[in-house]
């Protein structure tokens, strides 16, 4: 059943990204998502960017619906359906986390949970430019080592995260988790999948969100139900990397 909840905090992460915090009683695991509706725009799938007592979603302004969501203020109501989907594997192991753009929203709770569960992680976060960086301070405060890549070189490594990741010795990790744009995920998989157990979270447009309508299908899997977090090899075996 959907739940209506008041927005308790709005955080402006950068000029085009806002985080909305709200109370939501259900237990949420890192990587899961919800369908969010403000009663005005469209209902949209959003990863949970905070999974503690006060949950959060982090929204980048990309179109009409997200622009409307950005107008929402503290005290206004959101309708949340979920949590839906699969989660990142969380174990007391060594992790390499790779985020592109808003992919950091889905991976940040995973990083925090890995530490809580006795694991370790290194984080690589890619942005277009330095002014777009967000959540990195949050991760560093939690004690996570974050390497930055920017397309224009205004912070950290100049270039894509898929290039920066090649500089890491993947033998030191048990798992790689990645979330970001599709071309980035494919590039990462080509580099890592034979070296380390890799899980990726796929962003997709969705209609039903509950595994019925087939609108988010990828290689015979439903992103909303079988994903959004997939074991990369399972997708690749079904032709995901074939152009």
């Amino acid at each position: 059943m959907p739940l209506h909840t008041e927005i308790v905090e709005v955080v402006e992460e950068n000029s085009s990204v806002k985080t909305f915090r709200f109370k939501f009683g259900a237990k949420v695991k890192p990587g899961q998502f919800c369908m969010v509706w403000d009663g005005v725009g469209e209902e949209v799938p959003m990863s949970f960017s905070y999974i503690g007592k006060i949950k959060g979603i982090t929204v980048k302004k990309v179109g009409k619906t997200t622009e409307l969501l950005h107008q929402r203020r503290t005290g206004e109501i959101l309708r949340i359906r979920g949590p839906f989907g699969t989660q990142y594997p969380i174990q007391p192991k060594r992790y390499l986390l790779i985020a592109g753009g808003t992919g950091i929203a889905s991976l940040s709770p995973a990083a925090e949970e890995i530490l809580v569960n006795g694991g370790s992680c290194r984080f690589i976060a890619g942005f277009r430019t330095a002014s777009e960086i967000f959540f990195v301070e949050r991760l560093r405060k939690a004690g996570i080592d974050v390497a930055i890549a920017t397309d224009d070189g205004s912070a950290g490594f100049k270039g894509f995260v898929s290039e920066l990741v090649k500089k890491f010795d993947v033998e030191h990790f048990d798992y790689a988790l990645a979330c970001g744009p599709l071309p980035m995920l494919k590039a990462i998989c080509r580099t890592l999948v034979d070296e380390v157990e890799t899980y990726i979270s796929i962003e997709s447009l969705m209609k039903c969100g509950i595994g019925l309508c087939d609108s988010c299908s990828v290689c015979g899997f439903q992103v909303c139900k079988d994903g959004p977090v997939f074991r990369a090899k399972d997708l690749i075996e079904n032709g995901w990397l074939v152009e």
């Binding site: 059943m1 959907p2 209506h4 369908m35 509706w37 009663g39 469209e42 209902e43 949209v44 109501i77 309708r79 359906r81 969705m206 209609k207 039903c208 969100g209 509950i210 595994g211 019925l212 309508c213 087939d214 609108s215 299908s217 290689c219 015979g220 439903q222 139900k225 079904n238």
Partner: protein, 306 residues
């Protein structure tokens, strides 16, 4: 004793199915890969309803889940018949029959779509004369018996594959629609599609769906579907495929006993992707326990035991 055919095998209008369990249209059937996965355990698979042109469907929210089922108004999203040919090509390796669901606004469109589906290799076509929420299509065409008869007979003349007609329950008398389909030459009818319904979001003070009114499916409509099949069985000679509210193998048996020769299953798959396998096992065990030797023996049994 040696059985000639497997216990659950059924035949409807020449379609050979390993069991009487069919994937209903609109559920997990837009992409070939998904349909192939479902077809491993289903007796047949109905495709997403396809029209002449690509349609995006309605804006989200298009679905609302609640205790007694699901309300949806997708708005017939589909890639259009030309593009859908690519999915049908990939389905040629499928061992279960693929039934092509089509929707049109008039005879001409239905004929064109049916011919394409036949050409693509569909084992049968299912005419969607029952979608409850797309303006100019579905039940807006399919609640008039005269139109139903003329569309069915036009399609029958145009194709060699069997023609199934999916009927709407959103009328006073579904039997008159069933008879119209039969008179038009339909090989089977499918009953029922979703029931028109509405839920209101009291925080946002508006319908929970962007389109307003939608179609209600899931366990709540089981008695409505069963009643429709029961009524149709009393009046029709052609086979009936039951649909609506099935979530357990017991529900499948109920439909068979009410007069269905096979059933379509949809909404319940949201809770259990392995549902077809479980339904198959449950129906088989029941039939063995009761000593039945074919599905046919169960069909319409409730009509005799009143």
């Amino acid at each position: 004793m040696v059985r000639k055919t497997p216990l659950l095998a059924v035949e409807i209008a020449g379609l050979q199915m390993k069991n009487p369990l069919i994937l209903a249209s609109g559920i997990l059937d837009t992409y070939a890969e998904t349909m192939l996965r479902i077809a491993e355990h289903a007796g047949a698979v109905v495709t997403k309803s396809v029209g002449i042109e690509e349609r995006k469907g309605y804006e989200n929210p298009v679905i609302f889940e609640f205790k007694h089922g699901v309300l949806n108004a997708m708005g017939l999203p589909n890639p259009g018949i030309e593009k859908f040919g690519e999915e049908m090509k990939k389905l040629r390796e499928c061992r279960a029959p693929i039934i092509g669901s089509i929707f049109g606004k008039d005879e001409r469109e239905f004929v064109l779509l049916a011919r394409k589906m036949e050409m693509y290799g569909a084992a049968a076509v299912e005419l969607n004369l029952s979608c409850p929420h797309a303006s100019g299509y579905g039940m807006e065409v399919g609640r008039d018996p005269v139109l139903v008869k003329s569309i069915v007979s036009a399609v029958k003349e145009a194709v060699k594959v069997p023609v199934f007609v999916k009927l709407t329950p959103n009328v006073t008398d579904i039997v008159s629609l069933g008879l119209a389909a039969e008179e038009g030459g339909a090989d089977a009818v499918v009953a029922i599609n979703t029931v028109r319904g509405l839920r209101i979001d009291i925080e946002f003070k508006r319908s929970v769906l962007s389109a307003g009114i939608g179609g209600y499916s899931g366990p709540g409509i089981l008695p409505i579907g069963l009643r429709c099949v029961f009524e149709l069985k009393r009046a029709l000679k052609i086979p009936i495929i039951g649909c609506g509210g099935i979530s357990t193998w017991e529900n499948v048996i109920e439909y068979l006993m009410a007069g269905a020769s096979a059933v379509e299953v949809g909404t319940a798959l949201r809770e259990d992707a392995g549902l077809f396998k479980k339904l198959e096992r449950g129906v088989k065990k029941y039939m063995e326990r009761k000593g039945y030797e074919s599905v046919e023996e169960v069909v319409a049994i409730a009509h005799r035991n009143r």
